[in-house]
Every structure is written in C-alpha cells, then in structure tokens.
Subunit: 151 residues, 2 copies
C-alpha cells in the first residue's frame, strides 16, 4: 500500500511533480484548491514539512497561490505556463538522454508505442465543471510524476 515513492528522487519533488501532472491532466483546474498539507501528509504518511516543501516550489513557480487559513489554489494560467515550461525542459533536458538510451538498448518505436505505456487515451485533458470544487485527491494519477527519468 505504500509503494507511492520512487527512491530515485526526493519525495518533495515527486510531490510537486504529481500536482503538476494533475494540473496538466485537468484533474486540478485553475482556481481549484489542492489537497491540504495535513491531508496529504496523513494520507501518504509523510511529514507535513515535506509536503509543504513540495508545495512551496509550486508557489515559487507561480503556479499556485496561498491563502492563509484557507488553503492553496491553482493560479489562473497555470496550465499554460506548464505546457510552455515543462515542454521546453523535457525536450532539452530529459528527452535527449532518454532517446540515447532507447537507441542504446536497441528498442524500436513500434515496441514502445504499443505494448508498454500505452495507457492514457490522449483524448482530452480539460473536462467540464461548475460543481462545488472540493479539493482533488493526489491519487488521481496512475502512472506517476513528471520529470527526471533516467537509467
């Protein structure tokens, strides 16, 4: 039940990446509150400070806004910001290494595009709403976080 964390990266960063993924996937829409520090800490049996540290990065990146006593909320424009920034970062920092590895391992495109990570149907990312927004759950991601994949 606890295989939530990947030991190849600090938890606070994985936490940050999960929220990022949720924003990109539209699970967390702009204006939505993200799950409270205490909630997440309890849910994942992690220290509140660790959660805070991850969340704080989102604030620093301008993706999330803090309202004391109320919670933290996804900023307007967050998703666009991410699509821009993360795309750039992925293409220049992550992909070259990943691609080199794929070549190195003699894997072909077909194999990769079919069998493996073909989940996530690609269709959409921004569903409907206008229901009372109640803080989404960090669990709403199957295949984890963003960034930093290597081997």
């Amino acid at each position: 039940m606890d295989r939530e964390w990947n030991d190849s990266q600090p938890i606070y960063r994985q936490l940050r990446d999960r929220v990022v993924a949720m924003i990109l996937d539209g699970v967390l829409k702009e204006g939505d509150p993200l799950p409270s520090v205490r909630t997440v800490a309890a849910e994942y049996r992690v220290n509140p400070l660790t959660v805070l540290k991850g969340y704080q990065q989102l604030v620093d990146d301008g993706l999330v806004e803090t309202r004391r006593g109320m919670g933290m909320f996804v900023n307007p424009g967050a998703r666009d910001l991410l699509l821009q920034g993360e795309r750039q970062k992925f293409l220049t920092e992550d992909w070259p290494r990943i691609h080199a590895n794929i070549q190195r391992l003699g894997l072909n495109a077909e194999e990769l595009l079919n069998g493996a990570g073909a989940a996530r149907s690609s269709s959409e990312a921004a569903p409907r709403d206008s229901a009372p927004p109640k803080s989404a759950d960090l669990k709403n991601l199957e295949s984890n976080p963003l960034k930093k994949e290597e081997r």
Copy 2:
C-alpha cells in the same frame, strides 16, 4: 567545465550508468579494463570512495570483475546481460512514466522517437573486436574526443 553531474541523481549512480552505457555502446568491450578508481576520481574531481561505490554496483550486478592490484574488468556476457536487464527495467519502470509525460505535455511520441533528440545513429553498437585494449575513458559518451593526456 564541470557540467558532468546531474543533481537529480547521486553521482555514484550516474557513474554506474555511464559505464553501463559504454558497455552497451561497445566502447568498453568484454575483458576490457575500466578506468581506474583513482583516475576517474581525479579526472572528475570526485572522491575515490564515490567512484568505488558506483563500480561496486557493477560488481554486484555481475557485470564487472575485480582483480586485486590489477583493476576491474568487464565480464564476458556483460553486454548481453545488460541488454536483457536494462531493457526490461526501462520498459516496465521508466517508459510508462515517460510516455505518460509525453502525452501530458501534448507532444507526439512517434515524432520524438524518429526525428528528434540529437540522434545517435544506430548504425553500429556491437563491433567485433581483437585489438589490444587499453582502459577506455569515461568521457567517451556524449560527443567527446579521445584521450587528451599521455605521458
């Protein structure tokens, strides 16, 4: 000049991964000695213990053999072992996440797998050999000339 290390992963692991890549690329052939602990430590201005730790993992994985007083040598069958193990690991652990991210960012996986990513021409990966091998340089990855020092 020191853009050698990626802070998203411990050095000893990156070290290990470099050697793995060199074996897969055929830069280090079976029976070849790998660059000595001290050499690497000096070259990259890293602690010998850190290098040893990375190398030790290779020994533990059965990829490399230690001969006291002489050095560490690539085991026979190492490359095949790697092609098996690393492929497996990549497909089940890394690729799913990577692919999900690609989708998430609205990028086209197919496109990436073909044209992009600073191509490394897959022409040769397993050259047949029979030349007198002298400890390859860890730098022989990612576009780097051969040795620059002999005395």
